[in-house]
């Protein structure tokens, strides 16, 4: 799995390119770091890769995921995860619901397979899958060092805890690539260090390409991949 940008340029409405055209290949398990002064369009670049770009901007070039062109795909079909500076946990859902929301829904093919099953067997199958989902959520929380936080309200968690839940949420959706938009910027140095270690280790386990946007030199030093400096 690799994430590839081919001659990517973003233009504002006045057709002014935000930065020089960008070529980049991020290999599986690699974390590439995009640096640059504020306002150069780092977040906009991530929006473009994830498919969240709004109509104010124009986009030239291609985004390839495993060699497949996803440039014109809707964001929900790209399978590109997103972790923002604010954790953006859904405040109307509990921590567990936030994670369960991210888990892929039941596979349709498998549902089809079990169509012949009737009554009790079908109910049991349904229950089994429900338990499986719950287990995955519990495991994810355990992983994040937040065991027992299932029923908590997202806003009752500390900033670092929220960020870890947000990362687990992004990973549970089984993304093929991950975009990190200064996820450590709002935390204090110690917490930011911890979270950085946590993110690195999780991402390495997943073996997916990651792009990290930051203006913190420490982030650039910590990552294992290429460092790109965006200039306007």
């Amino acid at each position: 799995m690799s994430l590839q940008l081919q001659q990517l340029t973003i233009t504002s409405r006045q057709a002014q390119p935000l930065f020089a055209s960008l070529d980049l290949v991020v290999e599986p398990g690699e974390i590439a770091c995009v640096m640059g002064p504020s306002g150069v369009g780092k977040s906009t670049l991530l929006d473009a890769i994830g498919g969240h770009l709004n109509g104010y901007f124009g986009l030239q070039g291609k985004v390839l995921l495993n060699g497949i062109d996803v440039t014109n795909l809707a964001p929900d079909r790209r399978h590109i995860g997103l972790l923002l500076q604010d954790p953006c946990l859904f405040p109307h859902m509990s921590v567990a619901d936030n994670l369960a929301f991210a888990l892929p829904a039941l596979n349709h093919d498998r549902q089809h397979e079990h169509k012949h099953e009737k009554g009790f067997a079908r109910l049991r199958e349904k229950q089994r899958r429900k338990n499986l989902r719950r287990e995955q959520v519990v495991q994810a929380l355990d992983h994040a060092g937040l065991a027992g936080f299932e029923k908590r309200a997202p806003l009752s968690l500390s900033g670092g805890q929220q960020s870890r839940v947000a990362l687990m949420r992004a990973l549970l959706a089984q993304p093929k690539a991950l975009l990190l938009d200064e996820p450590f910027a709002k935390l204090d140095p110690a917490m930011s260090h911890d979270l950085r270690q946590f993110v690195m280790s999780q991402v390495e386990q997943q073996g997916i390409p990651v792009i990290l946007v930051s203006h913190n030199l420490e982030d650039a030093k910590a990552v294992n991949g290429k460092v790109i400096n965006l200039q306007s």
Partner: protein, 567 residues
Amino acid sequence: MIASNDRLKWPLSMVLVTIILVPVMAGLSEILLAAMGFIPALGQYSLSFDAWHQLIQMPGLGTSLRLTLVTGFGATAISLVMALVASCWLYDGLRGRWLRAAIVPILAAPHAAMAIGLAFLIAPSGWLARLFSPWLTGWHLPPDLAIVNDLAGLSLILGLVVKEVPFLLLVCLAALSRLSVAEHLKVAKSLGYQGADAWFKLVVPALYPLIRLPVFVVLVYSLSNVDMALILAPSTPPTLAVATMRWFYDADIQRLLPASAAAITLLVVMVLSVLVWEACVSMLGMLNRHSTQQGLRGTSWLLLQRLLVPTMLSLCLLGLLSLLVLIVWSLTWQWPYPNALPTVWSLRHWSQLLGDVLPASLAIALLTSCLASIMSIAWLQLQENAAQQGRFEWSKLTLWLIYVPLLVPQIAFLYGLKVSFLRVGINGGMGAVIWAHVLFVFPYVMLMLQGPWQAFDQRYVHVAASLSKPPWQQLWQVKIPLLLRPILLAWAVGIAVSISQYLATIMIGAGRIDTLTTEAISLASGADRRLTGMFGLLQLLIPLLAFVMAMLLPRMMYGHINQRAAP
């Protein structure tokens, strides 16, 4: 972002245009034709200016016009100034939080109920006179004073102001949440500007463009309303809108001619009024800018605030008392003057309610408001998609079209719409009334929902999309739950607007569909205050119930997760 819905855009906008614009245009053109002399019902098929000759010869036309302009402009200007002063008072220092709760009943009350309550309160035989008689005033009989229906239209202005100040205040507060007011005020104060001074020099110029549309709606309503004017304005001659309605319903069918001409006149008056209003506002803006550039720091705004805040609070009190008196009268059996309270209480009138008035009102209000809410959500989402894809023009243009029914005087097109409906075979059924209500409910729901919808934090939707959730799930599982409170509040406003419709119900329903409002207004001219009070109270209770539901439901649904669940 939510791209796959895009192919729905044209069909949906066509539907909306058909539902909203076609009826207005059909109604207006019908009236315009009639004013130009084409009235098939009278056998007239040729261009003539008879209608206009007859209109000019109508007795009291000039007085009507003057009354209309004085009450319309007066009420709107007073309401706006009061609302701006009040929002400053509320915002700067977080005072008067209770006021937000206190104005809810006034917001929920239909205009007619408010007018009836106010009349019951301030009339010479009203509650206020009873409370102070005879020990203070020495009155043992109601004095012969024209307090309600006074010739200058002061009681109508009062009624409109009492009703519109809370509305504009709510609109201001909603718009203020989209500006970074707190910071601006802090900076201005550090530069030596007093709070109220800074408010009018800094905040109001930024605020006005955001509330322009609601202000126009208030201006148009004040100039052209029938329900309040029927109860509070003088009747000889009445306001232009009431006069127009009377001529439309005159036993002499020839009166259709001057009525149509008067309706068109009202429309022209409206357009000119909006232009004059905007000219005045931009002149004030220039003066304001001038004093800002001079760097003048003064306390005159503070003085105005000190003067107007108590006035505004007493107006709210007056409004609440007006609604209270409805409750008292609906429970009264005997209340001889000048007792302060009824001597014999009774629930007997409530048994007269076993007709179909209440179910009809409820059914119309619920259907209309739900329909309007769904239409609004669909519209706002599509508009957002269009903007996402860089087509801002489409969304801006069409947005103004939705508000056309609120910016055209009802009387100017509803009679024509009735004729158009008859022409295509729709004859005063429930469906037609619901359609007519949607014309007015939909724009109001949009007005309430638009701000919160546009202020929504798109990152939540982006995160949902990055979790591979399709557009409908982004909307249904993330956006709508997070916006549930404003959505339900808009729905409740829709209920209130539908319940309060008078002209749309009697004209399009051809008098065959009775609602609480039509009953209340027809009873208001009669002598039985007990029955009138009961219908007025019911008019108030249903919207109030809707508002309470809108406030409690999100808490019940998401309260266990977080108090801040629904921003």
